[in-house]
């Protein structure tokens, strides 16, 4: 992955365009400004106020946090790619790190069960899956990608 910097909207096909794409170093201080920029892009789409204020920022923060701290283990020289793709029907957020990946189902716990309620960790994947319509993980050219899909209402 080479730093690509900012790229403007580009057409992918008639119904899909890349609205946002960045490559960032593995530093949690990068998360807030990136989430703010993506959320700003979302305000121009047919997404609800709640989707813009809650679903997108929280789910994207979780995906970025996982990519930086778990996928890339906080090694600043490793990069995380963030891409937002908009179609007629959905907003798709893709977060790619340089890690080996993980089993989405095996790593998702139920933080609402009585035994887990007072755990400090373990809510990230649960929140992503609760706030997005679909969460997928796949490998792409030795990168680990988490794809979050939110249907446009």
């Amino acid at each position: 992955m080479t730093p690509a910097g900012e790229s403007g909207p580009q057409r992918r096909d008639d119904h899909e365009r890349v609205a946002f794409e960045r490559l960032i170093p593995s530093d949690v201080r990068e998360i807030e400004p990136i989430v703010e920029q993506v959320t700003r892009e979302c305000r121009g789409l047919a997404l609800s106020a709640r989707q813009c204020a809650l679903n997108v920022p929280v789910a994207l923060t979780e995906a970025l946090s996982n990519a930086i701290l778990r996928g890339n283990r906080g090694v600043r020289e490793k990069h995380v790619r963030v891409r937002a793709v908009v179609s007629d029907h959905a907003l798709v957020l893709e977060v790619a790190d340089e890690g080996t990946g993980f089993d989405l189902d095996a790593c998702t716990i139920d933080p609402t069960s009585p035994g887990n309620l007072e755990r400090e960790d373990g809510r990230g994947l649960f929140l992503m899956r609760s706030l997005m319509d679909r969460v997928e993980r796949y490998a792409d050219n030795a990168h680990n990608v988490v794809r979050l899909t939110l249907n446009r209402s």
Partner: protein, 110 residues
Amino acid sequence: MSFSIKKQGEICVVDVEGQLIVGNRQELKQKVLDELEKGEKKFLIDFSQTGYIDSSGLGVLVSLSKKIREQGGELRLANLNDDLKTLFELTKLDTLFQIADTRERALESF
């Protein structure tokens, strides 16, 4: 993003301005733990100026709640907007914390 702590009577009131997320949660945790170490027992965190909270932020609140309880104190929350209320309901943390609609009601509840 910033955290400020003010005393109102015997209660430490913490205002969270901006987001409470992985990049700043330790700052909030340390500020509250510093006050706990000084002997403060009653804490109120006011979210009226908060944007969103991620799982790390929620985790810090859970951790602080436990540490404060262990010292015989109490942690209460106030002013969650509808989106933040949804977050607490999704994670069932609304059952773990005492949450007041306003700062005044929270202060009266101690």
